[in-house]
């Protein structure tokens, strides 16, 4: 059976279609699940899938802060489902706005409690939205999404205004999964310290990254590297 991927949609998300396409090309069966109608409406449960993906976009307009409203719903209205997902070891991926959501819930970096964010994806140091192609280095990390990709360089786009990752002082650097391959602007488009572009939780199941792998999946995109990440994630849950 193909692994089932729930791609969570809230008003303002705008990368769910291409994220679904990427998971499908990687061999999974994606389904777009609505935060309000399906989850808060209790028509679906998060544990009825093999992967939870939170896609990019501007959920709730990024009002007040990117990802904050989405995270508030997860933490204050769907905490039971999040706990179940954690218990069942269901992998998660948050891309761009999805990463911002995960950080706002505290699921990343994941050393504290749900609902107590310890980090922030802050305004880019340019104070501008940055839409560019960048190169990522895959770091040695205990992350199920990148097993077998260590040391590779992946090309994909970034497109965000709030991507400067600020982590607690005691962050375990081994959990940094992706770095921009150069630290200077604009190769590191947002000014993240130590060029960090993506991190995982200590269990290696929850991945968050600012760049958009789902926009680099066809031979006619500037690169197809993004597909590797989806393939590895799907392979990991397919066993």
């Amino acid at each position: 059976m193909k692994p089932r991927v729930f791609i969570l949609y809230a008003p303002g998300n705008n990368c769910h279609h291409e994220t679904a396409q990427a998971f499908q090309m990687a061999g999974a069966e994606p389904e777009i699940v609505h935060l309000t109608a399906d989850l808060i409406g209790r028509k679906k449960r998060l544990i009825d899938c093999d992967i939870v993906a939170i896609p990019g976009g501007f959920s709730f307009g990024d009002h007040l802060a990117a990802g904050r409203l989405f995270a508030l719903d997860l933490v204050f209205r769907l905490k039971d489902m999040l706990m179940e997902v954690r218990e069942k070891h269901i992998p998660m991926i948050g891309i761009c706005n999805g990463f911002q959501v995960l950080v706002n819930t505290g699921l990343l970096p994941g050393t504290g409690n749900i609902g107590e964010p310890a980090s922030i994806l802050d305004r880019n140091s340019s104070a501008l939205f940055e839409s560019r192609w960048i190169t990522l280095s895959v770091e040695e990390a205990p992350c199920l999404w990148t097993q077998g990709l260590n040391g590779e360089q992946l090309r994909m786009p970034v497109a965000h205004g709030e991507g400067r990752l600020r982590l607690p002082r005691d962050f375990n650097e081994n959990l940094c999964v992706f770095r921009y391959d150069q630290d200077n602007y604009p190769d590191n488009p947002n000014g993240s310290a130590m060029s960090r572009a993506g991190i995982c939780d200590p269990a290696g199941r929850i991945l968050g990254l600012m760049p958009h792998p789902e926009r680099a999946i066809y031979p006619w995109n500037e690169s197809e590297d993004g597909l590797k990440l989806f393939r590895q994630g799907v392979r990991a849950v397919a066993g």
Partner: protein
């Protein structure tokens, strides 16, 4: 009861930092620091509950939330800027939703304002900064210290329908009425109104008069164009071309062409010049929102796949003292325009195809603010369905407010310095998330056959949309069913409100329930507001007491409550008298103006540097990189490319049918200088430039359609002549090439007049967008140079005319003769090219345009990380003038620079009209020789010169 909370950054504040850098550059040298605080005003909440909002309002990692301001008022002047009460903060629905997530249900309204403190500046300097950079009186207020608001909710009032007596009014009284109500109707139009009222035998209502004013405005009715007969000849040309790919032209919200595999492409360009000139941030957002809704409302609903922003502006380096009273500084418009595009298009999730900024003093009073949108929909859903009697009218999207009242009539009138205060309400703030929500829902509604017809609400709001949709059957609407932003509104205000992010659906009765369910799932607000009838009348009531379901009402519901509008559609459409417009012919001087020739390499180097640092030629990626161009994942060629990632591609290619290599190709041509010399020549060059860009990349010219956007000054006999020449040329060339215009828009409002009688006319402006298709995007020929040793040629008709060129502009001249490529030569070339491209004989290509040959060589070389070695002599010899300046800088629209592998040398030279240039080199400089001169251009130096000017004004 209103409570306050204050939010401050704990440590660094990127926003304050960037602002400070900018102000230091502007000369505020004593400025030590800027502090920024966000103030939340919260209505209907107690202190205890307000404290619980922490997780919603603040991230404690970087921010602190306090009950009092954290500023020390003695350290420097403080100013607070917020939205006017008439304007709803875009964040409001999110704040209310977040509060509910936290278990707080009482909160009824919230507002956010910004407090700025300037350390190291005196009060007047700080105030100047606020007025210049941080405050827009059109939508914002300066909140005074200690100011107490009794409520945050926009207040409103309603009132009975007024009946306006017209009978017996003389010309003067009619003119006064038009002026008082700001109808912008001329005396013949007012008389026509009087006749209609006479025929009806009753006074017209306020809403009816407003509706006539809106319907008959130049913006909606295109009175200038109709009176000159231009719309008709353009449409006739398209009909005559009878292009097999055209599915719909000029009749719908956008034009439609066939794509592949049962899919079709839509194309539309829309200007929003007047609002953007007075309130650029909101105006630009509205521009994008409006043209995107044209895509969503095309056929039975299309999915937007690409957008553009095309701006024409005055000199952004103009001294503040030279800015005409009543106009904004061009740089203010530029910065707000960039921000507006980013803040609307990025959340919409539609890739940016072309960010184009061009500068010309004629745009100082009224800028050009054009946006395009292209979309994708199943071909079978391209024809609009016809509403049928009994269908339900559903209004979706945002609430209706007092926004943009008189927007349509104002954009048809001249901008005066009064506009800034009198018509403030015609500007509003965009809410892209509202629009994105229905963008998600519309394809679902369409595919489940819920939509008989759909249209957007733009100028003239519901009155125009309902009129457009209901004209064939008749429509009945109850305005009391429309959700409002404010406490109350007059019925006529609801009827013509231009609140953004709304669309009108015509839903078959049996699909109403399904449609409402889908809309709810996508969190799109929806209201059943009326029915389509069978009596061909426009009937509008305001009846709060009507509580029957729309489905239960008869096909022609009774006129209960207050009668707001009761008119025959025929009167609305046919009653408008057209003005008589005289035409004065203008002749063009035939004696060609030429500047002093370039003699030495040193002179040439200086000229090249001036050219590449010209604002219309230089690197504009400082704006472009702020717009998402990879979203949707289908981008093949975005705005920028090459090894430096900054080479402008000049065209856009995407493969929107997921997993299939079918390509959409698109390009635009916009030039502010050519029209000043010769409007007919402008049309010719714009069409050829737009088509050439696509043909160069491998799109067959038979697979291309066009979209026009005209922008001209308020009509005078001279302007009428220019405009007629522009349109006639479009028609002639369209027929000649067999390339149809299928969509377009005209604006005849490009005149600014202020109370000092300063008048600024825009140059005659035409922007042409070309939309094409190609079967395999992998075969597209790209711009950057590929391989050292390959040969370079100029292909196609060369020209040595410099009129309208950027080069002449750098010398302070305009010139008087435009390049005039031969149409038959071009057509022959376009026919010849595809097989040559298919076999790989041309490996890189760039069509010559603004900046001429040397700019192409520079960009292609930079893109490839390579150089070139060029002998100009053959090109110079091929020109009648034999001048090197013409070879370097003439804007030979229609010609290309091409790169050819040696293996194809013979074939290319014998079969195509080429002039040899030289070859690609491994080094990264340009070496250009003629006679005994050798010009060596260092690439790094050129890049530094090229990347600086726009960046300096745009950041």
């Amino acid at each position: 009861m209103i409570l306050h909370r204050y939010l401050r950054r704990k440590n660094d504040d990127p926003e304050a930092h960037v602002l400070q850098e900018r102000l230091l550059k502007e000369g505020y040298s004593t400025l030590k620091n800027i502090l920024i605080e966000r103030v939340f005003r919260l209505e209907n909440i107690n202190e205890n509950d307000a404290d619980k909002l922490g997780p919603l309002l603040c991230n404690p990692v970087a921010e602190q939330l306090t009950n009092r301001s954290s500023f020390n008022e003695t350290e420097g002047p403080v100013f607070e800027v917020g939205y006017q009460r008439a304007v709803t903060d875009p964040e409001l629905p999110s704040i209310l939703r977040g509060a509910v997530s936290l278990g707080i249900h009482s909160l009824s309204w919230a507002r956010i304002s910004h407090r700025y403190q300037f350390i190291g500046l005196d009060e007047p300097s700080a105030k100047e900064i606020v007025m210049h950079y941080l405050y827009n009186p059109q939508v914002q207020v300066l909140i005074q210290p200690g100011e107490i608001w009794d409520t945050l909710r926009p207040r409103g009032e309603t009132g009975p329908v007024e009946h306006i007596p017209l009978q017996g009014l003389d010309e003067k009284a009619l003119a006064e009425l038009s002026h008082e109500r700001r109808l912008f109707l001329d005396s013949s139009q007012m008389k026509s109104l009087q006749q209609i009222a006479g025929r009806l035998g009753r006074d017209l209502t306020d809403a009816e008069i407003e509706m006539f004013a809106q319907t008959w405005s130049d913006h909606c009715f295109h009175t200038t164009w109709k009176s000159l007969g231009l719309l008709k000849i353009l449409q006739e040309a398209t009909i005559a071309v009878n292009h097999p790919l055209v599915l719909s032209m000029f009749e719908d919200n956008a034009g439609v062409m066939d794509f592949y595999d049962g899919w079709a492409l839509t194309i539309k360009g829309e200007t929003h010049n007047s609002p953007s000139a007075v309130s650029p941030y909101g105006g630009i957002m509205t521009k994008h929102g409006g043209v995107i809704r044209d895509t969503l409302g095309c056929g039975q609903g299309a999915w937007p796949i690409g957008g553009s922003t095309i701006m024409g502006l005055g000199d952004p380096c103009m001294p503040w003292k030279d800015v005409p009273a009543g106009a904004l500084h061009p740089r203010t418009i530029l910065l707000d325009a960039i921000r507006g595009t980013a803040d609307y298009c990025n959340p919409m999730g539609i890739p940016m195809m072309f960010p184009v900024y061009r500068f010309h003093p004629g745009y100082t009073g009224k800028c050009l603010a054009l946006g395009h949108s292209i979309g994708l929909l199943p071909s079978e859903k391209a024809p609009k369905g016809r509403p049928e009697p009994g269908d339900i009218a559903i209004l979706i999207g945002g609430n209706t407010g007092r926004d943009g009242l008189h927007g349509a009539t104002v954009s048809s009138a001249s901008m005066t310095s009064e506009t800034a205060t009198v018509d403030a309400a015609h500007v509003q703030i965009g809410h892209p998330i509202q629009e994105r929500k229905f963008m998600e829902a519309i394809p679902v509604l369409r595919d489940r056959n819920c939509l008989r017809a759909i249209t957007d609400l733009g100028a003239a709001g519901l009155s125009s949309a309902a009129g457009e949709m209901g004209a064939e059957t008749g429509i009945w609407i109850n305005l009391a069913k429309i959700p409002l932003k404010t406490e109350g509104m007059h019925p006529w205000e609801i009827w013509i409100s231009e609140s953004q992010e709304r669309m009108l659906l015509c839903v078959p009765p049996e699909k109403t329930c399904a449609a409402l369910n889908i809309l709810e799932r996508y969190e799109v607000p929806a209201a059943e507001i009326g029915k389509f009838t069978d009596e061909k009348r426009c009937r509008v009531v305001f009846d709060p007491a009507q509580d029957q379901a729309m489905l239960a009402l008869p096909v022609n519901p009774p006129m209960t409550g207050e009668i707001v509008v009761d008119l025959d559609f025929a009167d609305l459409r046919k009653g408008c008298p057209l003005p008589e417009i005289g035409i004065r012919e203008k002749t063009i001087e035939e004696d060609e103006f030429r500047p002093d020739n370039i003699r030495t390499a040193e002179e040439a180097e200086l000229a090249v540097e001036k050219l590449l640092s010209h604002l219309n030629c230089c690197d504009q990626s400082a704006a472009g990189f702020q717009f998402d161009n990879t979203i949707q994942g289908n981008t093949v060629i975005g705005p920028y490319g090459g090894v430096t990632k900054r080479m402008p591609n000049d065209l856009w290619i995407a493969a929107p049918l997921r997993g299939k290599p079918y390509g959409v190709t698109a390009s635009v041509a916009f030039n502010p200088f050519y029209g000043e010399i010769d409007p007919a020549g402008l049309s010719k060059l714009m069409i050829i430039e737009a088509v050439s860009k696509l043909v160069g990349t491998g799109t067959r010219y038979q697979d291309i359609v066009l979209c026009d956007n005209f922008y001209t000054p308020r009509v005078t006999p001279d302007v009428a002549f220019s405009l007629s020449r522009m349109v006639e040329t479009c028609c002639n060339l369209s027929r000649k090439f067999g390339t149809p215009f299928i969509s377009g828009k005209d604006s005849s409002s490009g005149t600014f007049v202020n109370d000092k009688n300063q008048r600024i006319d825009v140059p005659p402006t035409l922007c042409v967008m070309a939309l094409g298709r190609m079967p395999d995007v992998r075969k597209a020929v790209t711009k950057q140079l590929k391989t050292p040793g390959n040969l370079l040629y100029v292909l196609g008709p060369v020209s040595d005319r410099l009129g309208g060129s950027v080069y002449l502009d750098t010398l302070g001249h305009r010139g008087n003769l435009l390049p005039d490529p031969d149409e038959n030569t071009l057509l022959a070339l376009w026919k010849q090219l595809p097989p040559v491209q298919q076999k790989g004989a041309i490996v890189s290509v760039s069509p010559i345009g603004e900046g001429g040959l040397v700019r192409r060589l520079f960009e292609m070389a930079m893109g490839g990380g390579l150089g070139c070695s060029v002998d100009l002599q053959p090109l110079i010899n091929s020109m009648t003038s034999g001048r090197p300046d013409a070879a370097l800088f003439a804007e030979a629209v229609g010609a290309f620079v091409i790169e050819v592998p040696h293996a194809y040398r013979k074939e290319i030279e014998s079969s195509l009209p080429v002039v040899p240039l030289g070859e690609v080199t491994a080094g990264d400089g340009l070496q250009i020789t003629w006679e005994t001169e050798t010009l060596n251009l260092n690439m790094d130096r050129l890049i530094r010169i090229w990347e600086r000017p726009f960046r300096e004004v745009a950041q």
